[in-house]
């Protein structure tokens, strides 16, 4: 299938890319691996008149560690992250998340980490062909004013953020660098997400993501990513969770839990930290309670936006939360000395 015409730009350096963004603003889109964008263009969901390819920007495709951070360029391919050896023992949660994206031949060799974080929200009523959508009214996300995913309709868009890397990276307190022609800012990753279904990212039209900074593991901390799917590959998550747990060797001193694939953006469950703090690390009752809290918090967001029933997904938030927290805790307790951790 051919796509509607657009201009293709292949800037030679970041400055040129940012200049193009500055000039053409909202009519253009950044093209990374294209594994999300092309499908949307084919379905008529994205109709940019200009694409700015990141393929020739080696400065965005490097991984390095400095000042206690793992710095990943936005255009780093998922496969390159998997191949970066230290991630296996230092950031295993990130490994789990990246590995779970789609299927290798589809996503890992073309798809990028930046594209994964910046992919638009999804919904079973929206991510369909033009023909499919034509038979209904235009929904909020497509510029209309109704929502099929919300029982009884809604004036908000209830699409979901399906990025698998977002929950774990936010749980690990990752920061991102965003650049425009005139400005550069580094912010917590969670601030990238607006929680507005119609426009889920806070990026301005002339801005792009350039780098992700993941803090190195500290002694006594561990992270884990859990993703529930019906098949072993290709599937987007039914529910996902990124967990970060820090212990002093016996008690939990800090915990973060981010639920993915249920809400308009990654969903931070604030209550979990309070619940786990100062409790014995791995205490089952505490983790159970955290699971319930996550479920209760998520419940208000879960819409009929994927093919699995709302009720089931709600229940699964608790299960996936518990599994992610348990594994993160286990890792935390075995990683008391990071330099030796392997």
């Amino acid at each position: 299938m051919r796509l509607p015409p657009f201009a293709y730009e292949r800037p030679r350096d970041l400055y040129e890319a940012l200049e193009l963004l500055n000039t053409f603003g909202k009519d253009c889109r950044v093209l990374a691996g294209g594994t999300d964008l092309l499908v949307r263009m084919k379905q008529g969901l994205a109709t940019p008149s200009r694409l700015i390819s990141l393929k020739d920007l080696p400065e965005l495709a490097t991984i390095n560690e400095s000042d206690g951070f793992l710095n990943i360029g936005t255009a780093v391919k998922l496969a390159d992250i998997l191949a970066y050896e230290p991630i296996q023992y230092r950031w295993p949660g990130l490994l789990e998340a990246v590995k779970s994206v789609g299927a290798p031949s589809i996503q890992h060799f073309s798809g990028t980490i930046g594209g994964n974080l910046c992919q638009d929200n999804r919904c079973q009523f929206y991510n369909q062909s033009k023909f499919f959508r034509q038979a209904r009214q235009t929904c909020n996300k497509a510029g209309g004013n109704t929502c099929f995913a919300w029982k009884g309709g809604s004036d908000k868009c209830h699409s979901i953020c399906q990025s698998d890397s977002a929950p774990i990276l936010i749980a690990m307190d990752a920061r991102i660098t965003i650049k425009s022609k005139n400005e550069s800012r580094t912010i917590p990753l969670e601030e990238l997400y607006s929680s507005v279904g119609e426009r889920p990212l806070t990026l301005a039209d002339d801005e792009m993501l350039t780098e992700i900074h993941v803090p190195g593991p500290v002694p006594g901390a561990g992270c884990a990513f859990e993703k529930l799917t019906y098949r072993s590959s290709i599937d987007y998550a039914v529910v996902s969770a990124g967990a970060y747990v820090q212990t002093d060797g016996s008690k939990t001193v800090n915990a973060r839990l981010i639920i993915g694939a249920v809400a308009r953006g990654p969903l931070a469950i604030a209550a979990v930290e309070k619940t786990l703090k100062d409790r014995t690390a791995g205490d089952e009752e505490a983790i159970d309670q955290a699971g319930r809290e996550a479920m209760n918090a998520a419940e208000a967001f879960i819409a009929n936006n994927i093919t699995q029933p709302v009720e089931y997904r709600t229940q699964m938030v608790s299960v996936i939360t518990k599994r992610a927290l348990s594994r993160a805790t286990k890792r935390a307790l075995s990683h008391t000395d990071v330099s030796e951790a392997k």
Partner: protein, 789 residues
């Protein structure tokens, strides 16, 4: 009759010497004859064909599940540069498709499902055709629609076809053998239950497509993906007749097919639309489906609601089986409506059961219309029967394996429906599974085992008046063999099996045999690739033709060499006497061509198996032999998420003889994984008739990472009727999978899921219900209470 056991998995051969005779190609793991073309990308599928001057066709489908068409405005589409022809239902003569002739290729007046074809465009390129479709304006007036077949039977339900007066198809599938009511009184143990299955679709990797091309004299050539070239030819001929062309030729050319599984058992609107567009534009027209169309506009396996009751005596002998079914036919009628004819077979004849009653209703709804899919109804029926078998065994307090042993079919049985069981490896299949799966192994939490068996037609199936297939064989100057068969290959390897059979009989190598099956102008007649009949029927047909040639060859060789015919053997491309080569076949043939009053080597054969049409009471020996099998599975259930993992899988099949064990394994492994999808993950989600998951993200066929270690065990019973003893095996692999898995889940966690697919949410809801939870959740789509159990 001889029953000989040959279990290939442990390479142990038992029994009769006769079958130990040395074959050179039969029974060997021979590569598919088309494999190199496919491995090098040279094989041509419908997608790959282009004819000079060819136009691209596109179809506009309905926006409503049930509506009157008030107006169709095609002006803008016609004005688009590059558009050659636009057709609507009003522009075409009354062509009608399907078993009931209730389906026009383009609809006028009314649409009855989202899948209804409303208009079509032919343009010089695909993009233009696509754009033109979007420019057609249709005004509809929606009318009340009906989607639930049980609801559709109520008197107040809207009618899908007003002329038909009722939504119930007039196909009375009713049978009663013995006396079920009396047996119910007599039975010591009874079970009664409701089961349901859902829409699943074939998901051929190569999408559907056709090219229609008229010559100057209005003869028609159709290149199409079909499993039924000869019957398709007839359908297209009828369309020509309606167009006013009498006495014209129709030629059907079949490219490589990217998977069949029953989807290509009928001709469809798109093929006839291509013909109509070609007729109007006087140019070849190609229509190829996009994946979304493949999901929405091809005919899936239909859902069923089954009520079953079954009882046995104190010793565990089955006394009766009583089943009734409602089938969602959808808006039009294809072979899906006739699947009860095959469901009858397991219902009356899977295990010995003296009293049987069955009734099935096919019902029009405003859903997509149904087609047969691998097993032709058998998977739906077997799901209910084999689930109920476990329930009855439990009620009777008899071990599940033992219960099946007690009731197993045996060679020589004649079932209540009149099926004559000749060879029967079912007892051996049950043994193989129970031994291999270690049913008695100590229990682990959340882990369980289950088994289920199957019976299927293995020697053709007399659905039409004929169950025949023709073959022509000719040999050239060099001893090379051309086989023209009516059979269809859609990837399963029919051409390879036929080449092996012919090569074995003629003492040549498989690579000396070229099998033509792609062209009705060249190949003889056949009723189509269905009912796992190809190896048996087309194989026998080819074998018969090869025998004639062999006979003639020996005859001539004897004349030429002066050696007695019965002293000559034919192998390795030559005649042998006393272990020494006396004459190469090629030399003999050249001699016969280059001599006064020479002759050529050619033979034909039409084979129609010794099976019977069903009588008025549906009894009759529909197949010349029957295939049996038992599947066993060990599952692990994640009780927190409801996900089911398959740990071990064993599939034992009585195949008569494995002509090519490698292709046989392939049929079994492929059937099993398709069956696992049917059991656990696959489901066409229709929301008020609209397909909600027309893609591989949400229609979950299993991936390489979900592939299971299925172990295929082959039981060879060497059937007297089969070519070299073989029976059909195309479909059985996916028949007992779902009930085997459902039974294993019950064994693992004590909940029985009676509605397919067994998704995690259903398993979890059932666990909760068992543990005393009140609500089992609301189904997101139906907004109804989830069927907990």
């Amino acid at each position: 009759m001889q029953t000989v056991l040959y279990v290939t998995d442990d390479q142990e051969r038992k029994g009769n010497k006769e079958i130990m005779e040395e074959f050179t190609v039969i029974g060997k793991r021979i590569s598919k004859v088309d494999a190199v073309d496919k491995a090098t990308g040279r094989a041509l599928y419908i997608q790959d064909f282009k004819l000079p001057g060819m136009l691209y066709g596109k179809i506009l489908y309905s926006k409503y599940p049930h509506a009157r068409i008030i107006r169709v405005n095609t002006e803008k589409a016609k004005a688009l540069p590059g558009v050659i022809t636009v057709l609507t239902g009003e522009d075409i003569p009354p062509v009608r498709l399907g078993v009931y002739k209730d389906n026009p290729p383009l609809k006028a007046g009314k649409v009855r499902s989202y899948r209804d074809e409303v208009a079509a465009v032919a343009a010089t390129d695909l993009e233009t055709a696509r754009e033109a479709i979007n420019l057609i304006e249709v005004t509809y007036e929606a009318v009340p629609a009906i989607f639930d077949p049980e609801e559709a039977l109520k008197p107040e339900a809207p009618l899908v076809h007003e002329n038909h007066k009722t939504n119930l198809l007039k196909m009375p599938w009713n049978l009663h053998y013995g006396d079920v009511e009396a047996a119910k009184i007599e039975a010591a143990f009874n079970v009664e239950e409701r089961f349901s299955t859902t829409w699943v679709t074939h998901c051929c990797m190569g999408t559907s497509g056709a090219i229609a091309d008229f010559d100057h004299a209005d003869n028609l050539t159709v290149y199409t993906n079909t499993q039924i070239p000869s019957l398709a030819q007839k359908d297209f001929q009828e369309t020509l007749k309606v167009l006013g062309f009498k006495d014209k030729r129709v030629r059907v050319i079949k490219p490589c097919i990217g998977g069949g599984f029953g989807s290509k058992l009928d001709t469809y609107a798109y093929e006839h639309v291509a013909i109509l567009l070609a007729w109007r534009s006087r140019r070849p027209v190609k229509i190829v489906f996009e994946r979304e169309e493949e999901f929405c506009a091809t005919s899936p396996r239909q859902p069923t609601v089954t009520y079953i009751s079954m009882g046995c005596d104190k010793e565990g002998k089955l006394l009766y089986r009583d089943m009734s079914m409602v089938l969602d036919n959808g808006a039009y009628t294809s072979w899906g409506a006739t699947t009860p004819s095959v469901m009858m077979m397991p219902i009356t004849s899977l295990y010995r059961v003296p009293n049987v009653r069955y009734n099935a209703k096919c019902v029009y709804t405003n859903n997509t219309y149904s087609q047969a899919m691998r097993g032709y109804g058998n998977p739906q029926a077997t799901f209910a029967i084999e689930s109920a078998m476990d329930m009855l065994a439990e009620a009777a307090g008899i071990d599940r394996v033992e219960f099946r042993r007690i009731n197993s079919n045996q060679p020589g049985d004649v079932t209540p429906q009149g099926l004559k069981i000749t060879t029967c490896g079912l007892p051996e299949c049950i043994e193989a599974v129970s031994r291999d799966l270690e049913f008695g192994r100590p229990r682990e939490k959340g882990v369980g085992v289950g088994l289920a068996s199957l019976i299927h037609v293995g020697g053709g199936a007399r659905i039409y008046k004929s169950d025949g297939c023709g073959t022509i064989i000719k040999m050239d100057d060099y001893g090379k063999v051309d086989v023209f068969t009516g059979a269809s290959d859609m990837g399963q390897g029919a051409d390879t099996i036929i080449a092996q059979i012919v090569a074995e009989e003629l003492g040549v190598k498989v690579e000396d045999v070229h099998v033509f099956h792609q062209d009705t102008d060249i190949c003889p007649w056949d009723v189509g690739a269905h009912a796992s009949r190809t190896t048996f029927v087309a194989g026998n047909s080819a074998l018969g033709a090869a025998r004639k040639i062999r006979h003639r060859l020996l005859n001539m060789a004897s004349e030429t060499t002066g050696i007695d015919e019965d002293k000559l053997t034919l192998k390795n491309r030559a005649f042998f006497a006393d272990g020494k080569q006396v004459l190469p076949i090629g030399k003999l043939l050249r001699g016969s061509h280059f001599k006064p009053r020479g002759e050529m080597m050619m033979a034909d054969n039409f084979y129609d198996p010794p099976n019977e049409n069903m009588g008025r009471d549906f009894s009759g020996n529909m197949s010349a032999t029957y295939s049996f099998g038992t599947h066993g599975v060990r599952v692990k259930v994640d009780e927190a998420t409801g996900k089911v993992e398959i740990l071990d899988y064993i599939a034992a099949h009585d195949v008569g003889r494995a002509i090519n064990p490698m292709l046989l394994d392939g049929q079994v492994h492929g059937g099993v994984l398709m069956g696992v999808g049917y059991a656990l993950t696959e489901q066409v989600i229709l929301e008020n008739g609209r397909n909600m998951n027309p893609d591989f993200r949400d229609y979950k066929i299993l991936t390489a990472m979900d592939a299971i270690h299925s172990k295929a065990v082959v039981i060879e019973t060497v059937d007297e009727q089969g070519p070299f003893g073989a029976k059909g095996i195309g479909e059985p692999g996916c028949v007992p999978t779902a009930p085997a898995i459902a039974n294993a889940i019950y064994d693992a966690i004590g909940v029985r899921i009676k509605d397919l697919p067994i998704t995690p949410e259903k398993v979890l809801a059932a666990i909760k219900k068992k543990n005393g939870a009140v609500s089992c959740g609301i189904d997101a789509f139906t907004q109804k209470e989830q069927p907990c159990e």
